[in-house]
């Protein structure tokens, strides 16, 4: 395989930045809608993880498979999800892709390679591996599948079994660990005992990559390499990126357990701010340009939210309440 992918250009960087920005603005809106009591279900945000997440989504292409996790709003948008469908799902519109049956972080469109995560962490690892196996059996080459997971998720049996099975079949799977220092309230010291989560790569016989999760360029370069290597026959790639979740676990969580020294350390930096600084320092854009971009996105998000709020909720009378696709298999229960 060719060792090096094309370098990350200014335009790549700016494109990734704009998606990060869209994700940030959209999530700010979700948070405020949540506080206003307008969201159906929970709100779990990816603030501080956009650089890593966008770098995954942006390096996948049509025909690839992506199973985002909790904090992958940026990666979702980069892979093709829309502000409209995001808001429809959170606001409980009938027109959302999940039709009210499931929602929010659990949304997806599997037919488009955009998988809908189940809550049980780790479960998407073997699912993406299986998708890649099926593609290989069909004779397709050059396909990549990616999924994200947290430090907490690495403790699941599903992660272990899935990554190991993918390694045995040398599947083009990229597993991206956002090591955001906490699983809900649980600090890494109660989650694992290895010196570095990247030490796990050798134990599975997969390639390992480290990215600085606060630095967009590092994330872009690392993911570009990892996706490239997977696409070119290098087998599973494990990417580990230290960073800090900059918000509570969910919007209900005040994050009181945050160790303040982490906030001040290198991992505590805000990747969006750092990216802005980088853009300005490179002279690629002015502060005014960036402010204009933000306003544009805010407008789009606000307008879309207003529109979606007028859409009807799902109608229970219209739901066919069918867990199986075959109508003949639907059971009738007497008094139900």
């Amino acid at each position: 395989m060719s060792k090096k992918p094309a370098p990350v250009t200014e335009s790549d960087y700016l494109k990734a930045y704009r998606t990060m920005l869209a994700s940030r603005v959209l999530e700010e809106k979700l948070a405020s809608l949540y506080r206003a009591g307008m969201i159906k279900g929970g709100v779990f945000l990816g603030k501080g993880q956009e650089a890593l997440s966008v770098s995954v989504g942006i390096h996948l292409r049509r025909g690839d498979v992506f199973a985002p996790l909790i904090r992958d709003q940026a990666g979702r948008l980069a892979f093709g999800d829309t502000i409209l469908d995001t808001l429809r799902t959170y606001l409980g519109s009938q027109l959302g892709s999940m039709r009210g049956r499931d929602g929010n972080i659990h949304r997806g469109r599997p037919r488009d390679g955009y998988y809908a995560m189940i809550s049980h962490l780790g479960a998407m690892v073997p699912a993406v591996a299986g998708a890649l196996l099926a593609r290989r059996l069909r004779g397709e080459t050059g396909v990549v599948g990616a999924t994200c997971i947290g430090d907490g998720g690495t403790s699941t049996g599903a992660f272990h079994e899935g990554l190991n099975a993918a390694a045995v079949d040398k599947l083009p799977l990229v597993v991206v660990v956002a090591n955001n220092q906490y699983a809900y309230s649980t600090p890494n010291s109660r989650q694992y005992a290895c010196a570095d989560l990247l030490d796990k790569a050798a134990g599975y016989g997969v390639a390992g990559h480290r990215a600085d999760g606060t630095d967009l360029l590092s994330c872009l370069e690392t993911l570009r390499q990892a996706v490239h290597d997977a696409r070119n026959g290098g087998g599973p790639q494990l990417v580990v990126a230290p960073l800090l979740r900059l918000v509570g676990h969910g919007e209900h969580d005040d994050f009181a357990y945050l160790d303040k020294s982490l906030k001040k350390s290198a991992v505590g930096a805000d990747c969006l701010e750092l990216a802005e600084k980088h853009i300005l320092s490179q002279g690629w854009k002015t502060a005014e340009d960036l402010a204009a971009w933000r306003r544009e996105t805010e407008n789009e998000v606000n307008t879309t939210a207003d529109r979606v709020r007028r859409e009807p909720p799902p109608d229970p009378g219209e739901d066919d309440w069918a867990a199986l696709s075959r109508p003949e298999y639907r059971e009738q229960y007497a008094a139900a």
Partner: protein, 320 residues
């Protein structure tokens, strides 16, 4: 006023205070006090005995089993009942078989925050009692009141057998009691929650309150429904159910979990096989619909039984 949730916390506090064998293990239950705060402050009060686990349900249960063999009394918390599927193998194949196989009992308590709440969706709403009741070797309890959740949790810790403790999240905050009881019915005994003569509703968990509301609605029309709160679904107190049906002649069983092989199915099967002659009419059952639990509140409120669907079924049962 003490909430259902606070009663769970107080029971664990008392268990820790009075029994040195007790310890707590689970995700985020330490300093954070748990996703629902059912262990709030306990890590402080009982240093070293309330431990945060990694995100590993199988290991959580497996470790509890080993600890129990050594004489400890672990209480483990699943963050949601739904995630217990990841620890199910240890529960049903290890904890549940240990006594029969080796003669050594396995006194673990697995707390399952169970059942539906608005907006929680397919993976934070499940009721798992029927699953765990199917395998031999487990005690499966479903406390429906503040008093029961307190006394039954203490009793669960005290007994030698593994207990699946299905506490209902819908009841966490709004169910309140003045004070906590010292004594109570033992696990395995059902309770007549409301006496009546015209028909029997057998239920458990959050559906007790929906059923009581339905009974109140029918009382306004002059019908007296007897409501039996099962309290534990395994063992299941067939005698109390049969005695009630003997009085009323009619049976409606209400559960929030899925219908196939659920509590409704087991109760109706027992009454039909053991009390066929007591029934004046076909027994009826109401369950959640046979689909995953939908996340949207408008769908969810139709997916599960409610006072009004229960009342409607009761009217059909009574031919009103």
């Amino acid at each position: 006023m003490i909430t259902y949730l606070e009663a769970i916390r107080l029971a664990q506090q008392k268990a820790l205070a009075t029994d040195p064998r007790v310890f707590l293990y689970g995700q985020d239950i330490g300093n954070f006090g748990g996703a629902f705060k059912a262990t709030k402050n306990l890590a402080n009060e009982f240093p070293g005995r309330v431990l945060d686990s990694p995100l590993s349900e199988d290991a959580i249960v497996g470790m509890a089993i080993g600890a129990a063999i050594e004489g400890a009394r672990p209480i483990v918390e699943m963050q949601f009942a739904d995630f217990s599927t990841c620890g199910l193998n240890q529960i049903v194949n290890h904890a549940a078989t240990l006594f029969y196989r080796t003669g050594v009992p396995c006194p673990i308590v697995v707390r399952l925050p169970s059942g539906g709440t608005s907006g929680a969706g397919p993976f934070h709403s499940q009721s798992m009692e029927a699953i765990y009741a199917h395998w031999p070797g487990l005690v499966v309890v479903t406390p429906a009141t503040v008093e029961d959740v307190y006394t039954m949790l203490l009793e669960a810790v005290a007994i030698d057998d593994p207990v699946i403790f299905c506490e209902h999240k819908f009841l966490y905050y709004h169910l309140k009691a003045e004070k906590l009881p010292e004594t109570s019915l033992p696990i395995g005994k059902a309770r007549i929650a409301r006496a009546g003569r015209d028909a029997t509703i057998v239920t458990h968990g959050a559906m007790l309150h929906e059923s009581l509301a339905a009974a109140a609605e029918l009382a306004a029309d002059g019908y007296e429904l007897e409501v039996v709160d099962l309290r534990s679904v395994k063992p299941l107190d067939t005698d109390t159910v049969l005695a009630s049906v003997a009085r009323t002649g009619r049976l409606l069983v209400v559960s929030e979990e899925w219908p196939w092989g659920g509590v409704t199915s087991e109760v109706i099967s027992r009454v039909s096989t053991e009390g066929f002659g007591l029934l004046d009419a076909a027994p009826m059952r109401i369950n959640a619909k046979d689909t995953p639990v939908p996340y949207h509140p408008d769908l969810w409120s139709v997916h599960r039984p409610t006072a009004s669907t229960i009342a409607a079924a009761a009217r059909r049962l009574l031919h009103i």
